[in-house]
Symmetry: C2
Subunit: 141 residues, 2 copies
DNA sequence: GGTGTATGATTGACTTCGCAACTATACCAC
DNA sequence: GTGGTATAGTTGCGAAGTCAATCATACACC
C-alpha cells in the first residue's frame, strides 16, 4: 500500500510543480503542452479528435474543449475529415509548432529536475516497464 | 522520456478506473475516500484543515470544500480549535468511519487489481523507494 | 499595551473536466 | 433504397479545484 501512496504522492507533486513552472515561464498549461507535443509528432502534425482523447486519457468532450482553447489561440486549426464527414482533424499550426518549441526547454528541464534526476538510471528502466504493463492492462474506458 | 510518459499514462488510467469503480459501487469519489482514510488514521480521528490540504496535495480552499461536502453528508464534523482560535479540526464521525469501512473493500480490490498485481513484488519495493524520494525532494509549494 | 506582520480558514469568481443528451453521418441488413 | 444501429464530435450542465481577496486571530517588537 505504501507503494501506491508513494505513486499518488509523486504524481501529484511533480505534476503540480511542472504545471506551475510551465505556467510561470511560458503561460501554458501542462495539458495544452501535451496536446501540442502529440500533434507535433503525429503524421502531418494532425490527429483526429478521438485520437487526442485517447492519448490524453481525456473524455471526448474534454478533447473538444482543449482543441477549442488551442484553436482560439491559433495554435491549432480544425479541418473537417474528407473520408468521414462526421469526423474532424486537429492540426498544429506553424505558430503552434513555434510555441511548442519555445516551451519545451522549460518542460524538459522540469521533468529532468523533478523526475529523472531523482531515479537511478537502471531503476528508471525497470520502472518504465512496470508502469507500461500497468497502463497496458488497465481497462480502457 | 518514455518512463515519464508511462508514469503519466499509468496514473491517469488507474486513477480513472478506481474512481469509476468506487463511484459505481459505493457512490463515493476517490478524493473523499482518501480524506476519510487519512482522518481515520489520525490521532483522535481528526486533522487540522491545513494538514488535510498538505496530505491531499490540495490548496487550502480545496480542503475547505472537501470538508464542506463531507460535512454536508455528515461523514465529518468541524470542531473549532481551542488553542488557536483561527483554526479548525475536521473530525471523522461514526457514520464517516462506517462509510469508510464499507467502501474500503472496493478500493483495496481496485488497487490490487490495477496496480499491485501487475508489478513483481521485488520491483514494487524499489519502485516505492524511487517514488518516495521523488516526492520527498519535490518543491513543497 | 499597541502596532505590524504572519497565518488558518473561508469565500467569490473563474477554469477545467466529465456525463448525458444531442446532431450528423456511416454502415449493415433486408 | 429504407430502417436500425453504431460512431464522431459538440453542447448544457454540474462537480471539483485554483487563485486572489478577506476576516479573524496569533505573534513579535518597540
Amino acid at each position: 500500500m505504501a507503494a501506491w501512496r508513494a505513486f499518488l504522492m509523486a504524481h501529484a507533486r511533480i505534476a503540480r510543480a511542472l504545471e506551475a513552472e510551465l505556467q510561470a515561464e511560458q503561460g501554458m498549461s501542462l495539458a495544452d503542452y501535451e496536446v501540442l507535443l502529440q500533434l507535433a509528432r503525429a503524421d502531418e502534425r494532425r490527429m483526429r479528435m478521438s485520437e487526442i482523447a485517447d492519448r490524453m486519457i481525456l473524455s471526448r468532450s474534454g478533447a473538444t474543449r482543449v482543441v477549442d482553447r488551442l484553436e482560439r489561440s491559433e495554435l491549432v486549426r480544425r479541418i473537417s475529415c474528407e473520408s468521414d464527414r462526421r469526423g474532424a482533424w486537429a492540426q498544429l499550426t506553424d505558430a503552434g509548432y513555434r510555441r511548442l518549441r519555445g516551451a519545451s526547454p522549460t518542460h524538459l528541464r522540469g521533468v529532468a529536475r523533478h523526475f529523472w534526476d531523482k531515479i537511478p538510471a537502471d531503476e528508471l528502466d525497470r520502472l518504465r516497464e512496470s508502469l507500461e504493463s500497468v497502463a497496458e492492462e488497465c481497462p480502457r474506458d
